[in-house]
Symmetry: C2
Subunit: 218 residues, 2 copies
C-alpha cells in the first residue's frame, strides 16, 4: 500500500520533470541539481563556481526552512530564488517549475544551479528536470560515504570532493573513496576542490563550461 | 491524500513505539536515539561513549545499506545489531522492535544506543520508543545547522557538538550555534566533544550515567 503511493508520487513528479526539462531547453539554459549532506559546503561551492565561470548563472536555493543560503548567494549579486519545503526532505519538479516562473528571463541562456535540501538519501529519487546531478561529499564526512549512500553516487554524473584543504587534519583514505564512487559509477567524473580557497575550481568550471557549450552546439 | 497516508504511517509507528518503550522498561534498559548528518561522527561517538561508561551497553546500527558501522562497533567487542532500511531515510519503531528481539538478554540492564540513518530531517519525525533523542552536529558542518534543520534540534534532549578539535581550522561561530539551539530548546543540554581525542567525554558520560541511574532509582 505504502509502496503504491510512493510510486504514484514519483510518476507524477517525473511527468512535471519532463515539462521542466522542455522549459529549460526552450530557454537555452542548463540546470544542475546539487545534492549533499547538511554542511557539505553546497552554497559555498555554487558561489565559488559562479565566480570562476564567465557564463550567466542563477541559483535556486532549496531548504527545509530559512533563507540563510539565498541571502549568502544574493550578497554576491547573483539572482536567486529561495524555495522552502516546510519539512520536506527533498525538492521536487513542481517546486522547480514554480521557481523557474519566478526567475523568468534571468534564467535564459544561463546555468541554473539548484541547491537541493541537505540530505544524501531522499533527493536521489526525485528528478527535478535537471541536465545532471552533482553530489558533493566533503573530507570531514569520511571516505565511506559512497558505500553507505550508494544511490546518489550511482546517479550523479559528477562527484565533488569538497574541503580538500582539511585533508591533513582528518583520517581520509582517498583511494577507498575513489574506488567506491567508480565502482558504482564507472563513467562518473570526480573533482577535488576547496570551495573556500578555490583549489580545483579551474578544472571543474572548465569541464562545466564545456558541457554548457556542447548542449546547444555553441 | 498524501498527507493522510503520512499521518497513518506516523500513527502506526507511534503505536509500535509505545510497545517498544514498554519492552525497554521491562528490561530495565534505557534507549537513546542518535541522529545526525552523514559523517557527523555518530559511530565514533557511540564507541567512545561506551568506552567511557561503566554501564553495560549495546548498539543498534541503522543504515540505508552496508554493515560498515556495525563492523566498526563489533571490533570493540560491543554487542551490535545492524538494521538496513534498504533505501529508507529513517528508522522506525517496527525495525527497533525486531532488533530488540535479536539482541534478547544482552539488552537488559543496559543502555541501548541506536544510531539512526545519517539524515538531519526525516528521523526527527519518527519516535522509535527511545527515552530521548541526541542530535550530533559537527564543527565542519557549520554553525547554521539549528537554523536550517530546526525540528531535530527542538526535539533532541541533548545536542552534541562533535569534532571540536577541528574548530581551529574552520570558520565556526559557537555563540551563534548555541543561540540557535537554545532558542529552539531552552532546556536542552549541549556537550562539546571530540569523539576521536576524547575531549568532553567525561562530562557527557557523567550526565548520561545519571539519567540511567535516575530512570530506575538505582
Amino acid at each position: 500500500m505504502e509502496i503504491k503511493v510512493i510510486k504514484d508520487v514519483l510518476e507524477a513528479n517525473n511527468y512535471i520533470a519532463c515539462k521542466v526539462k522542455e522549459e529549460i531547453a526552450k530557454r537555452q539554459a542548463m540546470m544542475i541539481n546539487i545534492i549533499g549532506s547538511p554542511g557539505a559546503g553546497k552554497t559555498s561551492f555554487i558561489v565559488k563556481t559562479i565566480q570562476y565561470l564567465d557564463i550567466k548563472s542563477v541559483v535556486i536555493e532549496g531548504d527545509v526552512t530559512s533563507d540563510i543560503d539565498s541571502r549568502k548567494v544574493a550578497e554576491f549579486g547573483i539572482p536567486v530564488v529561495q524555495v522552502n519545503t516546510g519539512g520536506g526532505c527533498h525538492l521536487n519538479a513542481n517546486i522547480i517549475d514554480l521557481a523557474l516562473q519566478e526567475l523568468s528571463s534571468s534564467a535564459e541562456n544561463a546555468i541554473i544551479f539548484v541547491e537541493n535540501v541537505g540530505n544524501l538519501i531522499c533527493p536521489a529519487s526525485f528528478d527535478i528536470g535537471e541536465d545532471f546531478k552533482v553530489v558533493i561529499s566533503s573530507i570531514p564526512e569520511g571516505h565511506d560515504k559512497p558505500y553507505k549512500y550508494p544511490a546518489i553516487f550511482e546517479k550523479a554524473k559528477v562527484t565533488v570532493l569538497n574541503k580538500i584543504d582539511l585533508m591533513k587534519y582528518v583520517d581520509f583514505n582517498k583511494d577507498y573513496f575513489y574506488e567506491g564512487v567508480l565502482t558504482l559509477n564507472p563513467k562518473g567524473h570526480i573533482f577535488e576542490v576547496s570551495s573556500i580557497l578555490g583549489d580545483g575550481m579551474k578544472e571543474w568550471t572548465r569541464w562545466l563550461k564545456l558541457q554548457f557549450m556542447k548542449k546547444f552546439n555553441r
